[in-house]
Amino acid sequence: MDQFELQIPPRPEYIAIVRLVVSSLALARRAVAEERIDDLKLAVSEACTNAIEAHASIQSRAPVIIRVTEAQERLEVEIADRGPGFLPDALPSHPPVTDPARLNFERGLGIPLIKTLVDAAEFLPSDTGTTVRITLYGGPSDGGDETSEILRAVLADEG
């Protein structure tokens, strides 16, 4: 099991970098469909947005930490903030989409998106902040697709 961390200043312009790192890593090293990588990218991005807004709400300049764990059967991304915390189940729900009042809600779609997009999403509050743990199941890309077939052939030749 390998692990690494990114620390980003709590500013919106850094989220694109996190998306790039996480999606490139998943694309290169995990045996998951590209569509799943888009889902992971969006979920991680939403969690980073929430983390940065949590820091802004208390004028914190502390970094947001993105911890990536690559295990045999899963890729896990934890987004840890030092914000004031929140209870995901206590968030107000929106009016139904067919209700004209729905248009009064521009916010609050991030958490439902995170929950829908990935295999597992946990919201772990603590005294120091909130950690969102996002998990995508699927093994390392050691076979199945054409690229790794070719790669294996090359490696076998060298061996």
Partner: protein, 112 residues
């Protein structure tokens, strides 16, 4: 990571706003400003073309919902052009496919 925003006049009364790049919490404010600007110029039938968008998150959705609300309160409308499954999926999950009219081309949107 620049957000491209190009305005073109469509067949009257339509105005087309073509968005390119990534729409997230960093870039969405620019999209919001552009929509506000167009509405204040009296453009009340806006087609937002999302075909050049690589990434759209909930902040982007929020800006589009805000734009739709602003236009409807001016007896106008905001419709979308989008055929990319990765972007459409975000509208589907959030139920916003029922709120927006989504077309597969600008021509389709002006005809609709």
């Amino acid at each position: 990571m620049e957000l491209g925003l190009e305005v073109a006049e469509g067949p009257a009364p339509y105005t087309v706003l073509a968005v390119k790049g990534e729409v997230d919490v960093y870039t969405a404010p620019r999209l919001r400003e552009k929509l506000v600007e167009l509405v204040s110029q009296g453009k009340h039938q806006i087609i937002v073309d999302l075909e050049g968008v690589d990434f759209l998150d909930s902040t982007g959705l929020g800006v589009l919902v805000g734009g739709l609300k602003r236009l409807r309160s001016n007896d106008g409308d905001l419709s979308l052009v989008c055929t990319q499954s990765r972007i459409l999926k975000v509208f589907e999950i959030t139920g916003l496919t029922k709120v927006f009219s989504i077309y597969d081309s600008v021509d389709g949107a002006t005809a609709g």
